[in-house]
Structures are given as C-alpha cells and as structure tokens.
C-alpha cells in the first residue's frame, strides 16, 4: 500500500525541530532512517499530519570515544556501527549484534537512535543498551536530560520520550579490561524479527564471572534484565551445574508473551537455551560461530 498524505519539512537545525514539536506535538512524527516509520505509513498503521525529516542534521551523527564512554549520535546508521573500528574495539557487543539487524539495504538507512526511540520489542539495540547500562540524551526546547536505558523502555513501543523531545545521543560506558560479551538471536530466517535474543556481558576473571548483565529481547514487551540469573551467577564459574541452577531463576525474571508464532512456554524455553549458551560463551569465549551466523532451520535445533 501507499502512505497517506502528510505535510513534510526537512529540518535545518535542532532548534527548528524543537519549535515544530512544540507547535504540533503528537500530530508530528520525526523521520530519521525511516526503515520502520515508512513501513508503518505504507501499511497505514500510522497517519501523522506532519513528518519532520531530521536525517540531514549532521550534528546528530557519528561515533566518538572520550572519557571512558562511547558517544553515538542518534542518526548513526546500523551500517556505520557495523564498519566502525572504534565500536569493534570498545563495544564488541554492538558489533556482535549488528549482523542480526535486518539486511544490508536496511542497515544502510536505519539509525541507532531511531531503533531505540521506536522500542520495538524484537529490536537488538534496546537490549544492548540495557545490558551496557547506556544513558540516552533527550533534548527539547527547554534543555536536555539524561535517562538511563534501564528506565527508558516502558513497554510495547512505549518509552520515557515526551512528545516534544528528541533522542539526540547515546552514551555508553566502555566496559573495562577483562569483560566479554555475546549476542545471541534466534530467528526463522537471517534478518527476520527475533523470536528471542540475548545481549550478554560479564567480567571474566580466570573463568569466574562477575558484573554479569543479561538483557533479553523478543521475550516481553520491553527489554528485560534477568536479575535473578545475574545474581545467581555472580562470582561463580560457568560450570554446567552452576548454569543449570542459575537458569532456574529465569522463571521469575521473565514474563514471556506469546507472539503469532511462539507460545509463552516456547519463548521461556528459548530463553533458557540462550542463557546457557551465553553463560558458556562468557566463561570460555568459545561461542560456536553457528550460533552467531546461521539462521535456525528447525525447532529441534533451537530447543537443544
């Protein structure tokens, strides 16, 4: 289908964007990479009166490391993150996640901030930001504020963003030496929406895990930290017994909701499988590449 009619303005400055948002509020919609917005317009799931195209605001783009943090501009594309040597060095979790995001043609246009502001429950970046304890910079005419990723995602496509605010930048503390990360995702085909996924990070001191973070995507309405598992594994080696014991806590940590294809029980089982794989990977960094690159071909192979 085709998008409904709307007015359009290509913003020349953030000040102009703030002004337009003050005037039009929820009747206006920001257009960044457009990879979700245009699909939803085409399907007539959304009908804004005004599209404010922010995609040419260069100040919202780019990756910079300083003061122990990586600052990622909201308009930085998935492909720019994929190609960034800085990201590969400082935030390997993002580099591990990016191949799971749709396809090359979409990664060339879609943006980091757009994915976060939309808060699709199956999206990769929100879970990564929760795992990495990122801060989001939200700006409006009155000024800027910072909101932690862990407080930002409120539910299904619901965030702490107010109608007059723009997500301008994401600040991610660089994990220190000794940290390892893993990003796992189960999808029917490469690039499809995740059935379940897990962004995982921990400090590994000669096989002992600490400061563990496990953030799930595709399980509930918003990214979910598995706090019970994290606590159960703190200071432990990832032996088969320890993993099995810690994974028990998932039942309290997660509230899976069924989607069109997978029941809540299936999602819980997949979360257990991913937890085991991720903990093993964080402990050994021997993550089998098949988990990273291959699509899942059958239920039997993902349930083991």
């Amino acid at each position: 289908m085709k998008a409904p009619p709307f007015a359009y303005v290509r913003a020349r400055s953030l000040a102009e964007v703030f002004e337009l948002l003050e005037q039009h509020g929820e009747r206006a919609q920001l257009l960044a990479g457009g990879q979700s917005l245009l699909a939803s317009l085409n399907m007539r799931l959304s009908a804004p009166a005004l599209l404010i195209d922010i995609s040419r605001l260069r100040e919202l783009s780019g990756i910079q490391a300083r003061d122990g943090k990586v600052h990622i501009g909201a308009l930085t594309t998935h492909a720019e993150i994929e190609r960034s040597a800085e990201i590969g060095r400082q935030l390997p979790l993002l580099a591990q996640a990016v191949p799971h995001i749709a396809h090359s043609a979409i990664r060339n246009a879609g943006t980091f901030g757009g994915s976060i502001a939309l808060a699709d429950p199956a999206a990769e970046w929100p879970a990564c930001c929760v795992a990495l304890d990122a801060q989001f910079v939200l700006a409006c005419k009155a000024g800027t504020r910072r909101v932690a990723a862990r407080a930002f995602f409120k539910g299904l496509y619901a965030t702490a963003l107010k109608p007059n605010e723009v997500l301008t930048q994401v600040e991610i503390p660089v994990p220190g030496a000794g940290y390892r990360s893993a990003f796992l995702e189960l999808a029917l085909r490469r690039g499809d929406y995740a059935i379940a996924g897990l962004a995982a990070l921990a400090k590994n001191t000669r096989g002992v895990l600490s400061d563990l973070r496990l953030a799930f995507l595709g399980i509930g309405a918003a990214p979910a930290l598995a706090r019970g598992v994290m606590a159960a594994m703190e200071g432990k080696r990832a032996s088969a017994d320890a993993i099995a014991a810690a994974t028990e806590a998932l039942a309290k940590d997660l509230e899976p909701s069924a989607d069109l294809y997978s029941s809540a029980a299936t999602k819980m089982q997949l979360a257990r499988v991913l937890t085991g794989r991720a903990l093993t990977a964080l402990a050994t960094q021997q993550l089998k590449t098949k988990y990273l690159v291959n699509p899942v071909h059958s239920c039997s192979s993902i349930l083991r």
Binding site: M1, K2, A3, P4, P5, F6, A7, Y8, V9, R10, E16, E19, L20, Q23, L31, G34, Q35, L38, A39, L41, N42, M43, L50, L51, D53, S55, A79, P99, A102, H103, S104, A105, I106, N108, A109, R189, R190, G191, V293, P295
Partner: protein, 168 residues
C-alpha cells in the same frame, strides 16, 4: 516562518543514472514509485511495499537501499542508480551473463533487486564465501528458483574475478 516550509509537494532535484532530474513531488511518494511512475524506470519492482522483499532495491549515493522505505523527496540532492543505469553502464554485465548461464531466474520479478544487491557484494566483498553470499541476499526474496542458482551465479562471478586478479 517554518510553517511556510511545511508542504505536501516539494520541488526536488536528484541525479538518476547520471542525469539530473527536477520535479515537484508529493511528499508521500516513495522513491520507487517516483522512479517507476514519474520517470518510467520500471526495471526496479514494487513488491511488498514494506521493506521485506527487496524487489525495489536501488542505490542511493552508492549504497543499496529499499526504494519503498525512502520518500522520493528524501533523495533531494542525492545520486540514485537503478538497474537500468547499472545495466547500461556495463557495471553488472558479468553478473547478468552469469545469471543467464546459471538459469538464476524464472519469472524475473526479483532479478533487478537481486542484481543490485549482488553487485554491492561483488564490489565490496570480493572474497565473499557462499555463506556470505546467502547472508547478503537474505533481504531479497525469490519465489521461483530456490536461490541455489542465484548463489551459484554470484559465486561464479566472484571466482572468475579472483582468478583474473591472480593472473594480473
């Protein structure tokens, strides 16, 4: 001040296959519909219109994108290359020949998008493995061939180029 710039149609200038084009474009029109309906460049196809099938794949400023997930007005000032341009310039001649030889198409609906995506891989990842080819084409659906012949054709082109480079 700003309200005067809020419009439903916009004067837009872009370069399509090397030729500058200026048109007044409805803001709601996708790039793919602009190319097909305003310019008559019907080689790129309109398939799912929500970014899943890849039939509308074109290049904007040298990068492949979905023609259905970009507004034509967003291409203002940019360089757009379609299958017609890539074909006329000879850039994809080797891929076209390999697709023909390997019988890598049946109905042909997906083929222009496949070729644009394949050329992106051939140009940027000359060492791509068969698995990498499949990964790169994961965003382009073909409902006829089962993909094997398409992957074979792209693999042929990559192998031939590597062989030539070794001989140079």
């Amino acid at each position: 001040m700003t309200s005067t710039r809020m419009e439903q149609t916009l004067e837009t200038t872009l370069t399509v296959n090397g030729t500058p084009v200026t048109r007044r474009i409805p803001a709601r029109q996708h790039l793919i519909d602009f190319l097909r309906e305003e310019l008559g460049l019907t080689g790129s196809h309109t398939g799912c219109e929500h970014g899943v099938c890849g039939a509308c794949t074109v290049r904007v400023d040298g990068k492949i994108v979905r023609g259905c997930l970009m507004l034509a007005v967003q291409a203002d000032g940019r360089r757009v290359d379609t299958i017609e341009g890539l074909s006329d310039s000879g850039e994809i001649a080797e891929l076209q020949e390999a697709f023909h030889r390997r019988n890598a198409l049946q109905c042909g609906f997906c083929t222009p998008g496949m070729l644009v995506a394949a050329q992106d891989l051939v140009a940027n990842h000359p060492g791509a493995s068969r698995e990498r080819i499949r990964e790169h084409l994961s965003g382009n659906y073909c409902r006829c061939t089962g993909y094997q012949a398409i992957v074979d054709a792209i693999e042929d082109v990559l192998a031939a180029r590597r062989k030539r480079n070794r001989q140079d």
